[in-house]
């Protein structure tokens, strides 16, 4: 039994998620945007792990899900960075507002 209520963890996750979200939507540097996305994923992981402990039927499943999420996040970070590199080679910039190849 824990003395900390589940909502405390959830609140922490929420705050981190919001920070990540804000960063992802406002930062110009693509690397930072990627990092912010990782932060959001982390916040989600906190929720997963929290619910694996709290609730009526606590089980290990939540932690396993968190692991899966981490694996996917790692893959995503790798591919994301690879794309970033490719882009950088072509456009000589890492600023996300200059990457508008999809325009029109």
């Amino acid at each position: 039994m824990s003395s900390i209520p589940a909502s405390a963890f959830l609140a922490l996750a929420l705050i981190l998620f919001c920070i990540g979200l804000y960063g992802a939507l406002t930062k110009r540097n693509t690397v930072i945007v990627l990092i912010s996305i990782e932060l959001m994923l982390n916040a989600v992981n906190i929720n997963l792990v929290t619910f694996s402990k709290y609730g009526i039927n606590p089980s290990i499943d939540g932690q396993i899900f968190a692991l899966f999420a981490m694996a996917v996040a790692a893959a995503e970070a790798a591919v994301g960075l690879a794309i970033l590199m490719a882009l950088y080679r072509n456009k000589k910039t890492v600023h996300i507002d200059e990457m508008n190849e999809m325009k029109n």
């Binding site: 919001c18 990627l34 992981n45 290990i60 499943d61 981490m70 790692a74 995503e76 970070a77 790798a78």
Partner: protein, 172 residues
């Protein structure tokens, strides 16, 4: 709520994590940001321990604080992140997004605030790693295998993408 050691630990970790996040947003140099992020990641690992998930905490430290941070640092180093040209339409969007985020946080917080979940004693902390291992290799074996495929694909994809094409290499 009692002011137990557990509580203080949580408060400390949470504080560090949030400060790390805030610094991530506000520091000037990209490298500094990444470093600030390491603090966040590590304290999240601490939070995992509080949630009786030692194995996840370990993986967190390894993958996030270790691998991903390093990849990001490489990314920063391989590009020129210090281009200081001003953003064109930054201000209004920042304010709007900020308001949106605050509203969103508020709305979700209302949900969390009223959220009262029942606690039952758990055995997660006993042989945590073994439990995860059993889970992964029995119930979740197929997703697990898929993840391995995914990682492979990501690996190859990343190589293909990041590899300089021969032509370009010739040109430079």
């Amino acid at each position: 709520m009692t002011f137990s050691g557990e509580f203080f630990a949580f408060m400390a970790l949470a504080l560090v994590a949030i400060i790390g996040g805030v610094l991530l947003l506000n520091l000037n140099k990209v490298v500094h940001m990444v470093v600030a992020l390491i603090f966040t990641f590590v304290s999240i690992a601490g939070v995992y321990i509080l949630l009786s998930a030692e194995f996840v905490a370990a993986v967190q430290v390894l993958i996030y604080s270790g691998a991903i941070t390093i990849i990001m640092l490489f990314g920063i180093m391989l590009t020129k992140p210090y281009d200081e040209s001003e953003a064109k339409s930054g201000k209004w969007r920042k304010i709007l997004v900020f308001l949106g985020v605050v509203g969103f946080a508020f709305a979700v917080y209302l949900g969390i605030y009223n959220f009262d979940i029942q606690q039952v004693p758990t055995t997660l902390h006993e042989d945590n790693t073994m439990q995860i291992g059993k889970g992964l290799y029995t119930k979740y074996i197929i997703p697990f295998e898929f993840v391995s495929v995914l990682l492979l694909a990501a690996l190859i994809g990343a190589i293909v993408l990041a590899k300089r094409e021969d032509k370009e290499a010739d040109e430079e």
